[in-house]
Assembly symmetry: C2
Homo-oligomer: 385 residues x 2
C-alpha cells in the first residue's frame, strides 16, 4: 500500500498513487461512475470509481457505503476535472476500516441546539464546526503569541483556590481532602504576585462561575487570559487592551479568512478594529444611555442592553473608564481626584457582544486595600494565603 | 521624567537618562558611593549614587532603603565599570513608590519548603524561581508550537465532566446546580472525538486527581497535553512521542541555556535525548528488573523504583510497550496476536523521573470497547454523553 497522506498534501502527489484515511462525507453515482466525497480533517476530496476499472465487486460494495464510514482509499491523484487548483483521486482500491452502527443522525435539515449538543461529538464533523474550532485555535495562538512577544511571562494560576476574587455567590466548591476548596474565578491575584516578581506576567486557563443565569454571557466554565503589569496605570492598561485586540483580530482576519467565509461572518466590523479606540468615562456612558431613553442613573451597573446601546455609538470597541467604586471589586485603585470612582476600564465590543475586557489600575496602598477588603466584608486571612 | 524602560533594554539607551521601575534586590555602600541592585523582572542592574552629586538628602535616605522597596530610579545608563557587556545606572533621582510593611522574610540562609511555600508570592522574586518559571513557560510554548506546526488542532476539553477516564477512586466532585459533576482527569475522550472529526487534535489544560499519596508523582492538579490522531497505530504513536520529546527538549536547551545554568542543571542527560529511543516490550522490562534482583513478575505494575531501574539501563528515554491489559484502562486496543497485552506504551525518562508519556492505540471496535467497559464495571451510559 502507498504511504498514507493527508488531503491537504495532495498537491505534492499529483500523478502518484497514495492512500488516504478518512470518512465518507457524501456519495453519488452516475451510470458507471461513483463519486465519494471523503474527509480526513484537513479537507474534503472527491474520489472517483469507474466501474470498468474497479476490482471485482468493489463498485457494488462502494455504492452502498453509509455516511461517515471510516475508509482507506488508495488511488492516483489527478487535477480535479472541473475545479482549478483542486484535486481528485481515481480509486484503485478501497478498504472499510469501520462501518457506522447506526445511521448518521445529522442531516442537512435544521436541527435544534439540544439535539446537536447531544450529538456534539458528531456535530464536530461538520464544516461549520471545523471552521469555528479553527478560528478559536487561531485566536488562542494569537493571544499567546501576543503576550509571549511582548515580554510577558506565562505563570499559570492554580485552579483550586481558597479565595473568592469575584465575590462569594458564584463559587463552585469541592472537597479537597477534607478541606473546602473553590474552583478559581480568576487567576488575577496570582498574576499580580507574579507581576511583582517578574514585571509582566499572564495566566491563561479555565475559570469558573456558578452563574444562576443561563445565557451566552453567563458561562459556568470559560478560558480567560489575564495579563498583569507592575507599575502600569489606567492609561497604560487601556493602551495595552487596545494594542492587544487590534493585534489578535488582525491575525485571525489574515490567517482564517477561509473559515470566516464558511461562517458567513461579515468581517467589516472586525476590520474596523483599529487604533485609536474611543475612550469615555462612565458618566459619559450614562449620558449616552439617557439620550436613548434608557433610565440608567449614576451608580447603576450596565447589563447587556446598556452595553449594546453604548457600543452602538461607536464603529469599533469603546473603552469605558471610571465606574463608581461601589460597582467594582475591592482591588481597584480609587481615582485620587474623585475617590468614589475606580481607575478601571471595561472594553465594550460592537454588535452587542458587550464587555470583552475588564481591567484597571490596582490599589497599591496596603492600608487602603485592607480597608477595601473590610468594606466588602471579605475575610482578610484568606487573601494572605 | 524620562520614559520608563526595562533593564533588558538598557543597551539601547547608553549615555541617555532613563527611568526604571523596580524593587531593591540588594544594597551596599562604600564611603561616598552607594550601590543599589534593582530588579524589574527582566534583569538586575547596579545603580550607583555618588554622594557629592546627589540631590539634598537623597544619599541619607537611600542608604536605609529596605530590601524589596518599590522604586522609581532616574539616571544615566553607562557601561558597567568592570563587567563587559553589562550596564549600570548613575542615579540622578530616586523615588520610593512603596515601602515594605515588614522585613523581607526570605534571606540567603536555607529555608524549609513549608516556609517558602507559605511565602510563595515573595519566593517568586528569587533568581532561581524566575529561572524555573522561564523554563516552564518555554516548555509550554514548545509543546504548543510542536502540535500547531504539525497539523494538530487545539480543541480544549471541558473541565467539568460526567465520566471517570482514569478510574473512579481519584475524582474531585462538585455540585453543578444540583447534579454531581467531576473535575476532568483527562481530556482524552473529548480529544478522541475531535480527532475523528478533524484528523489530529490536542488539548492542553489542567487535569485533576484526588490522589491519596503526597509525592511529586501524585499531584492533585497538573497541566497535561493530550494529542489524538485518527488511524495512528502503536508504532506511529511511539514515533510521535519520540519526535515530540526531541523537539521540545532541544528548543528549551537552545533558548533557556542561561536559566538552566542558574538552576545548575546538568544538561548532558537532556542533550542525549536524540532519536532513536530504545523500544522494549513489557516482558523485556520485567527481565531487566529481575536481572537487578527486583521481584516483579508478569502482571505487576511498575512503581517509581521499577521505572528508575528500567530507565537506568538506557542513556535516553525508553519506550516500553505491550503491558498486560489488566494494568491498563479499558480504551486500549488489544494486541491481535496476544490479546492479553495492550497496544500501549509508556515513555520512561532517565534520572528516575519515570513515566513522562503514556499512550497507545485506541480500541476501534465498538463491540470490544463496550465489552471492555463492562469488564471494568464502568457505566456505559456516562460514556455516551
Amino acid at each position: 500500500m502507498a504511504a498514507p497522506v493527508y488531503i491537504e498534501e495532495l498537491e505534492q502527489h499529483v500523478g502518484v498513487e497514495v492512500t488516504l484515511r478518512g470518512w465518507l462525507y457524501a456519495r453519488r453515482s452516475s451510470g458507471k461512475l461513483l463519486f465519494l466525497q471523503v474527509r480526513d480533517g484537513t479537507g474534503i476530496v472527491q474520489c472517483v470509481l469507474f466501474r470498468p476499472d474497479a476490482p471485482e465487486g468493489l463498485f457494488a460494495r462502494a455504492k452502498h457505503l453509509a455516511q461517515e464510514t471510516s475508509l482507506r482509499v488508495t488511488g492516483v491523484v489527478r487535477p480535479h476535472q472541473r475545479r482549478e487548483g483542486e484535486f481528485e483521486i481515481q480509486i484503485r482500491d478501497l478498504d472499510v476500516v469501520a462501518e457506522p452502527t447506526a445511521e448518521y443522525p445529522i442531516s442537512p435539515k435544521e436541527h435544534g441546539t439540544d439535539f446537536l449538543m447531544d450529538h456534539r461529538h458528531l456535530w464536530l464533523r461538520s464544516k461549520r464546526q471545523h471552521a469555528i474550532l479553527r478560528v478559536r485555535a487561531e485566536l488562542v495562538r494569537a493571544i499567546r503569541h501576543y503576550f509571549d512577544d511582548h515580554g510577558f511571562l506565562l505563570v499559570d494560576a492554580p485552579i483550586f483556590t481558597p479565595n473568592a476574587c469575584e465575590g462569594t455567590s458564584t463559587l463552585f466548591e469541592t472537597d479537597f481532602h477534607g478541606e473546602p476548596a473553590y474552583l478559581t474565578q480568576s487567576g488575577q491575584l496570582y498574576a499580580e504576585a507574579a507581576a511583582a516578581a517578574v514585571g509582566k506576567a499572564y495566566c491563561f486557563g479555565p475559570t469558573f462561575r456558578a452563574e444562576k443565569s443561563k445565557t451566552r454571557r453567563h458561562l459556568a466554565e470559560f478560558w480567560m487570559v489575564e495579563p498583569e503589569v507592575a507599575y502600569l496605570d489606567l492609561a497604560g492598561d487601556a493602551d495595552l487592551a487596545e494594542d492587544f485586540l487590534v493585534s489578535i483580530i488582525s491575525r485571525v482576519l489574515e490567517r482564517r479568512a477561509a473559515e470566516l467565509e464558511i461562517l458567513e461572518r461579515d468581517t467589516s466590523a472586525l476590520e474596523r478594529v483599529q487604533k485609536p479606540f474611543p475612550r469615555i468615562r462612565y458618566a459619559e456612558a450614562i449620558a449616552i444611555l439617557q439620550k436613548h431613553g434608557n433610565d440608567s442613573r449614576h451608580g447603576d451597573d450596565f447589563g447587556g442592553d446598556e452595553e449594546t446601546l453604548i457600543s452602538a455609538e461607536f464603529d469599533r470597541p469603546v473603552i469605558v473608564t471610571h465606574y463608581p467604586m461601589s460597582l467594582k471589586p475591592f482591588y481597584f485603585k480609587r481615582d485620587p481626584s474623585e475617590p468614589g470612582l475606580a481607575l478601571n476600564m471595561d472594553v465594550l465590543a460592537p454588535e452587542g457582544y458587550g464587555e470583552v475586557i475588564g481591567g484597571g489600575q490596582r490599589e497599591d496602598d496596603l492600608a487602603r486595600l485592607e480597608a477595601s477588603l473590610e468594606a466588602h466584608k471579605l475575610p482578610k486571612e484568606q487573601f494572605e494565603q
